[in-house]
């Protein structure tokens, strides 16, 4: 059995960017990229690559194709899935992707998946840490008429079936579907592996294929947004913290309890 696995991965601003370096241009309604902090492959997308590699190890034979839609790709960053062990990569790179909302992104990704053809499993991250939409993958599954198994923390492949355990706040639920299907995964699937030296060498020899929207037969009207961003701002925080200081740290702890009691908080 050779599986065709597609992984959707997005380049995002590093979510570990310190809050002091996080700036919004309110007029342009954009987040200003922090100086000197390179973008990253979205964390849950790295988990998706890891999940695909585990599936491949399990079934023996599989091709992993990574797709990303965007404009300003930083190649050193985007090649990480290849150096982790993915087989090939397709970048849908087009200035028009700057203005895509989730509906448009899902449209482009599903067209690209159709163009690649014969996908058995599509694996996505649960959510992207820029707009935190957590629904682009569901758009893809709807557009491609695939079953959708979301928030997986493990994936098991059977004969033409997929079984996943979906994370729940108090445990998990096991779901089963026939292939082809779409799966979203989260951090509970396990840490993304570090690229090996060999992986990095192999990745450096691979050139991602690039497609434009026109290559996918899409025009502007096919990707018209369903949502309009009207305001983007950093919420004001005028909370004042009263720091309790005693003679030493233990005393501070004692005084903190007394203070909370005095304020009727405890």
């Amino acid at each position: 059995m050779s599986l065709n696995i597609i992984v959707c991965a997005k380049q995002v601003m590093d979510p570990e960017t310190p809050m002091s370096a996080f700036n919004v241009d309110e007029a342009a309604k954009r987040v200003v990229p922090a100086q000197g902090i390179p973008p990253v492959v979205n964390g849950f997308c790295e988990n998706a690559v890891e999940a695909a590699l585990k599936v491949k190890e399990g079934v023996g034979e599989a091709t992993i194709t990574v797709i990303s839609v965007g404009n300003d790709f930083v190649m050193d960053v985007m090649k990480k899935p290849l150096s982790m062990g993915a087989d090939q990569m397709i970048l849908v790179q087009d200035p028009a992707t700057e203005n895509l909302d989730a509906l448009g992104t899902a449209t482009v990704l599903s067209k690209a998946i159709e163009k690649i053809g014969q996908a058995d499993i599509v694996i996505c991250g649960q959510q992207a840490s820029d707009w935190d939409n957590a629904h682009v993958p569901m758009g893809i599954s709807e557009m491609l008429g695939m079953a959708c198994l979301s928030e997986a923390r493990s994936i098991d492949i059977g004969e033409g079936t997929v079984t996943v355990a979906s994370s729940r706040s108090d445990g998990y639920e096991v779901f089963e579907a026939a292939t082809p299907c779409l799966i979203t995964v989260n951090n509970e699937i396990g840490e993304p592996r570090y690229p090996t030296l060999r992986g990095i060498m192999q990745a450096s020899r691979k050139t991602p294929e690039t497609w434009t929207l026109a290559d996918l037969g899409l025009s502007d009207s096919d990707v018209a947004p369903a949502l309009t961003l009207t305001e983007l701002f950093v919420p004001v925080n005028d909370r004042q913290c009263e720091i309790i200081e005693g003679e030493d740290e233990a005393d501070s702890g004692r005084l903190l309890a007394l203070k909370l009691r005095e304020e009727k908080i405890i």
Binding site: M13, P15, F22, V31, A102, L103, S129, D130, W131, D132, N133, A134, H135, G139, E142, M146, A147, C148, S150, T163, A165, S166, S167, S169, D170, G171, F175, E176, A177, C181, N186, N187, P225, A226, L227, T228, L229, T230, E231, L232, P235, R239, Q240, C241, E242, I243, I244, D248, A250, S252, G253, R254, L256, A257, L258, K259, L260, E263, I265, I266
Partner: protein, 329 residues
């Protein structure tokens, strides 16, 4: 006049606690647009319809079909899709529960309309009926407001506890309507094989009025018992940051935050937590936040109302002991 349709979930035979929250959000939109508030109860009975009316709905649709498989998003999606085609609502409100956050977006994509996830607030333009949804983005570092293009329904997924449910008023009147839907078996593409619940001992995190938060600053799993001791003083519960769960010190069911649980205790006492926006996303509605952290510049001190800058190993035992004395006396 059109309708605001609420996807009300059922839990253990009763309306899910989020139903009332969604009805409250629906009423707020209704105040702006004059649209009526309807509730879709899939796999439920007339009795639940009356309960929804008492919580503030104008109308309840009860939809049943043999193909509905409990706990499988596909079923609710297919049913809700049929209801939407019949009712043609202006707005659909769903909740960020496991089922709600799977059904809402897929409904929007199936209908080719817009969807806003994890919303904290909603309002609407009285003339156009267009909703503005306010939601955190970039892990909670920023807030965004979105409006929807012309096509209906505008699908909105509300963050848990963003709105408060009204007290039930049995004097309210409204129609409870049975809808005939018949689902296509091929709509149900997934099967629920097993549900595994990790029983938590003591008070549930979501219900606790006092929560002790465990952060990476504790250095390992061992200090958990000390936090538990403190939690016991208040009959509270222990929660944790994602860093603690990812490290395997605690199970992910303890995780508070954007991708964990949303909690709203009276007091949230964090120990060794830096206060990253993604963590605060799950606890910023706590009435009081208290911080113990050795780094005075940590973001948690911008969120807390009281705090100690210091090493938890020295601060916590004295804090626990004093708190115990105070509460025992």
């Amino acid at each position: 006049m059109s309708e605001i349709l609420i996807f009300a979930e059922i839990e253990e035979g009763d309306l899910h606690s989020t139903a009332g929250e969604l009805i409250a959000a629906g009423r707020k939109i209704s105040d702006d647009t004059g649209d009526s508030v309807s509730v879709a109860i899939i796999g439920g009975n007339q009795d639940l319809g009356s309960k929804a009316i008492a919580l503030g709905a104008d109308k309840a649709y009860i939809a049943n079909d043999n193909a509905i498989s409990e706990g499988v998003a596909d079923s609710y999606l297919a049913a809700l899709h049929k209801i939407c085609l019949e009712v043609e609502p202006n707005v659909v409100l769903s909740s960020k529960t496991p089922i709600g956050r799977a059904v809402g977006p897929r409904l929007a994509y199936r209908l080719g309309t817009g969807i806003a996830q994890d919303c904290m607030d909603v309002s609407a333009d009285s003339g156009s009926g267009r909703v503005t949804a306010t939601r955190p983005v970039y892990g909670g570092n920023a807030m965004a407001k979105f409006t929807f293009a012309e096509k209906n329904p505008q699908v909105i997924i509300m963050r848990l506890k963003a709105f408060e449910s009204a007290e039930p008023d049995s004097g309210r009147s409204g129609d409870v309507v049975e809808l005939n839907i018949s689902l296509d078996e091929s709509d149900i593409k997934t099967k629920l094989v097993e549900t595994v619940k990790q029983e938590s001992e003591g008070v549930r995190l979501e219900d606790a009025s006092v929560i002790i938060g465990m952060g990476r600053g504790l250095g390992g799993p061992e200090p958990f018992s000390q936090l538990e001791d403190l939690a016991k003083v208040f009959n509270g519960a222990v929660g944790a940051s994602r860093a603690v769960c990812d490290a395997g010190w605690l199970d992910h069911s303890y995780q508070i935050g954007l991708t964990g649980k949303t909690v709203t205790p009276d007091v949230y006492i964090t120990v060794g937590i830096s206060g990253a926006s993604q963590h605060m996303a799950g606890c910023s509605s706590s009435k009081n936040i208290v911080a113990i952290n050795k780094d005075g510049d940590a973001n948690i001190f911008k969120e807390a109302s009281f705090g100690v800058v210091g090493d938890w190993e020295k601060v916590l035992p004295a804090f626990t002991e004093t708190a115990r004395e105070l509460l025992d006396s």
